[in-house]
């Protein structure tokens, strides 16, 4: 047992800046390496919103659509607060046509 370790066992410090920077870097690099161009995300957000808006009225403030990466898996997280359900319109054909290559 080292003196410093004894000291640290009394005063555990999980938030030392070394671990903070490592956690931040892991997240940033995962996003960088995944490399989805910003314009693709913007386009996808607009299309997702257009589709969902046909069925629900969405509160625009609070709307969030983002890619999040954790432990080498990337997920798309959409947070769309619904104000009310719209009456069902006759279905229109929606064509979503773009290819997203994550590699």
């Amino acid at each position: 047992m080292k003196l410093l370790e004894i000291w640290k066992s009394f005063f555990p410090d999980r938030n030392d800046s070394r671990n903070i920077v490592k956690d931040r870097l892991r997240l940033i690099l995962a996003q960088d390496r995944c490399a989805v161009p910003a314009e693709v995300l913007t386009l996808m957000r607009a299309e997702i919103l257009a589709v969902v808006s046909r069925y629900f009225e969405i509160a625009p403030e609070g709307t969030e659509i983002n890619l999040e990466t954790d432990d080498r898996t990337t997920v798309l997280i959409a947070n769309l607060p619904i104000v009310r359900v719209k009456p069902l319109e006759p279905a229109k054909e929606v064509t979503v046509s773009f290819v997203l290559d994550l590699n």
């Binding site: 080292k2 030392d16 070394r18 490592k22 892991r26 940033i28």
Partner: protein, 264 residues
């Protein structure tokens, strides 16, 4: 055919030029013929760190435009005859040459020199693309901080898409005391995050500033950073040399530190 190695980083100010100069000089001291090429068109600094700024007559642009011969443009170092330097033009911008021309230039140099070290400019645009064009090997310089590590990762990704065969990491400005108190990433942390092999670790050293003030490479002196660069040169030569034990630095603070960390 000599080895063509680009020293790059993405982020500016992490020690690309200092590393180029000192690795180059250390290799020259080992008896190798080394030429350093400044890839930073418009912001050249290599000549300053070598103290050769008053001896630059021609630049790499003059060679490309056939204003002079290649051998004429290489400035020989008087202190170390094995070392030469090819300056970049200061008045032109990065679009003055094309990647193909730079590739031809460094390949011509590699006919007569054992090592061609290219000091890459910061950034990942034209200047980077030009500097990387002819390189077979790359040394990516970073410091153990968030922005340089992120940029190093980006540069590694770009280098992997190039015909560069080997990519090694140089961790610069490392502060062992801060890593020990968990205020800075450790060598292992950076290695794990960037996932490439290490060519060396250079400690933060005040002598770096003194050396640049004088225009004398660090490896002329006795500092810890100088020793680190000499070890990197040996590793490039294929020798197996352990990393410096930076925790054994001989000052009062590290002694107190050692007392604290000694096993009871």
């Amino acid at each position: 055919m000599g080895r063509i190695i680009v020293i790059t980083s993405g982020k500016g100010g992490v020690g690309k030029t200092t590393s180029t100069v000192n690795i180059g000089m250390a290799l020259a001291q080992l008896g190798r013929k080394v030429v350093l090429v400044d890839g930073d068109y418009g912001l050249r600094n290599l000549d300053l760190l070598l103290g050769l700024e008053n001896r630059v007559v021609y630049t790499s642009l003059d060679v490309i435009q056939k204003e002079c011969k290649l051998e004429q443009a290489v400035v020989k170092d008087k202190r170390q005859p094995n070392l030469g330097m090819l300056a970049a033009p200061q008045s032109r911008n990065k679009t003055a040459i094309e990647a193909g021309q730079m590739k031809e230039l460094v390949e011509n140099l590699s006919q007569t020199w054992d090592y061609v070290l290219i000091d890459c400019p910061a950034g990942i645009e034209t200047g980077f693309q030009n500097s990387v064009a002819g390189a077979q090997e790359a040394i990516v310089v970073t410091t153990p901080e968030i922005a340089p590590v992120r940029d190093a990762d980006r540069v590694i990704g770009l280098l992997e898409a190039q015909p560069v065969q080997t990519i090694k990491l140089l961790l610069n400005r490392f502060r062992p005391a801060m890593a020990q108190t968990k205020e800075m990433m450790t060598i292992e942390d950076v290695k794990e995050i960037l996932a490439i092999d290490l060519i060396g670790v250079v400690p933060e050293d005040q002598q770096t500033i003194v050396a640049s003030n004088k225009g004398e490479p660090l490896v002329f002196g006795q500092s810890l950073a100088a020793l680190a660069y000499q070890n990197i040169a040996q590793r490039l030569e294929g020798k197996t040399i352990d990393l410096l034990d930076l925790t054994k630095m001989n000052n009062i603070w590290s002694r107190i530190w050692r007392t604290l960390t000694t096993k009871l």
